[in-house]
Symmetry: none
Subunit: 287 residues, 2 copies
Amino acid sequence: MGRANGMGETETSSPPHTFGLPIPLVRIRGVFDTLPRSERKVADYVLDHADEVIYSSVTDLAQALEVSESTVVRFCQRLGYQGYPEFKILLARDLGTPFRDTYDTLDPQDDVATIVRKTFQMSIQAVNDTLAVLNPDSVREVVNLLLSAHHVFLFGCGGSGGSAQIAYQKMLRLGLPCSVCTDPHTQTLLAGMASKQDVVIGISYSGNNEDIVRTMRVALERQAKTVAITNYPISPLAKMANVVLLTGAAETPLVSESGPSRVVQLAVIDVLCTYYLLRQRTPDGLS
Amino acid sequence: MGRANGMGETETSSPPHTFGLPIPLVRIRGVFDTLPRSERKVADYVLDHADEVIYSSVTDLAQALEVSESTVVRFCQRLGYQGYPEFKILLARDLGTPFRDTYDTLDPQDDVATIVRKTFQMSIQAVNDTLAVLNPDSVREVVNLLLSAHHVFLFGCGGSGGSAQIAYQKMLRLGLPCSVCTDPHTQTLLAGMASKQDVVIGISYSGNNEDIVRTMRVALERQAKTVAITNYPISPLAKMANVVLLTGAAETPLVSESGPSRVVQLAVIDVLCTYYLLRQRTPDGLS
DNA sequence: ACGAAGATGAAAATTATTTCCTGCTTCTTT
DNA sequence: AAAGAAGCAGGAAATAATTTTCATCTTCGT
């Protein structure tokens, strides 16, 4: 009901027009030579400032170019569009979403919106980088360990303690018998109680945290299965681990705790839990 | 010679003033739950018929939906656009982009590498979505609060407790006087000690956690400045907050604790810390 | 149940777009 | 080189689209 009556009403709303050539920029170049003087002015401007034009009205454009509005409209119609609005829409489609300054660095002069965008972009970049360095085989290996684990210990200090905490909550909800500890002393004590059937996951961005390394060494001595989540494959922590899950967060110039290092830890944890869940549901042997 | 005069105002026409990325579809999903009935109708239709909408006028759309034109315009403005035309243009750009949201669903048949890729992709998508719903003005507001805060309290329960923990570590290193608490009872006690000059940040994905809401209410009564980090703008937590920082993680079909909900919390926290640092370094007055 | 806050649509006000008309230029033809 | 034809350009009127205002109605919280 809604659709039928609404559309047929006005002639201007004809849905499927200009099927043939919806590519304004190309078409402009095609007819450029045949355009009269004023319209050529319009064409020039549009080709140069397409991303401004799509936000301008006929009047804006006409004024900027010092031509009449009629000229702009005629220009659009000559190109084959019904009028200026249609031209603008197609131009916008043609342009696509601007992702221009994605990789640039933070500038104190930037306004908040830009800071936000750039910071988020860095997180995304870090996740992508992690995708590149994280070995899927290691993921499978760890999930295999988790599936047969009697108990899972999660250890992290400082910021990584937060990641451990989050991992703990996720795993709890997956039905994994697990515990978390962010206190260095207690960690070591707990690790001393780990058995061969247990999995000990140590999290440290730098892989250099003494407490975690010590804890992992203890776990290793107890023959527990040790897993490291770290950014550095040759770190002391990585040496203590049976399996290493590598993150790929770039160093940040600001402060050590700043930047997306935690984001990627969580991304890795998320993968573990997701894959665990899938494996739990389907009988083994796949993948 | 004629060039000089027209330029000053016209050329600027309207640099898209919208914050974040101009991704209408994501933004619609972000605010969908907060929309009134009629506007939700519009949202539904736009999500379903985006490629027709870009050729329709307000009148067309209003008729097709059997709502008033005012509603359509209000809908666009609520989304943050100046009006319908701007919305339409941005929508068109969005559509034009070839690789839009890749909501690849997980398939138990996938091999590990694919699972990893898809899971990471979901995190990236969530960060992008958050970029679309997070209001930079709110970020600035919160950082202003932080800059003049006597003390910052960070509260979260469960998984969000981990996020709070990470935020605490980051802020500590920025020299912010702060404390974190993940125990419901103690939280409330602490909040009862907050003063007018303090900032209380409550983190909860759903915004429904009773403990956090209670804690925030106490903080509000103490006239502390309250900040919420949540995915739901109309949640009880959001109501208790002077400023709301919105995340944009899509619901995940798996488990509540799964998915990138934590990742985006961290991304938001990261932005806070980054911008705080920049502001700290440069004398005020910018942006 | 009552009041306040908010949602909705009708219509008015504003703004944008298109058409129409006129004067002008340019090109062609002689 | 001059006259006519063709068609271009701009102003203004006409039309259409968009936004605001305002009165009414609904809903939510107390």
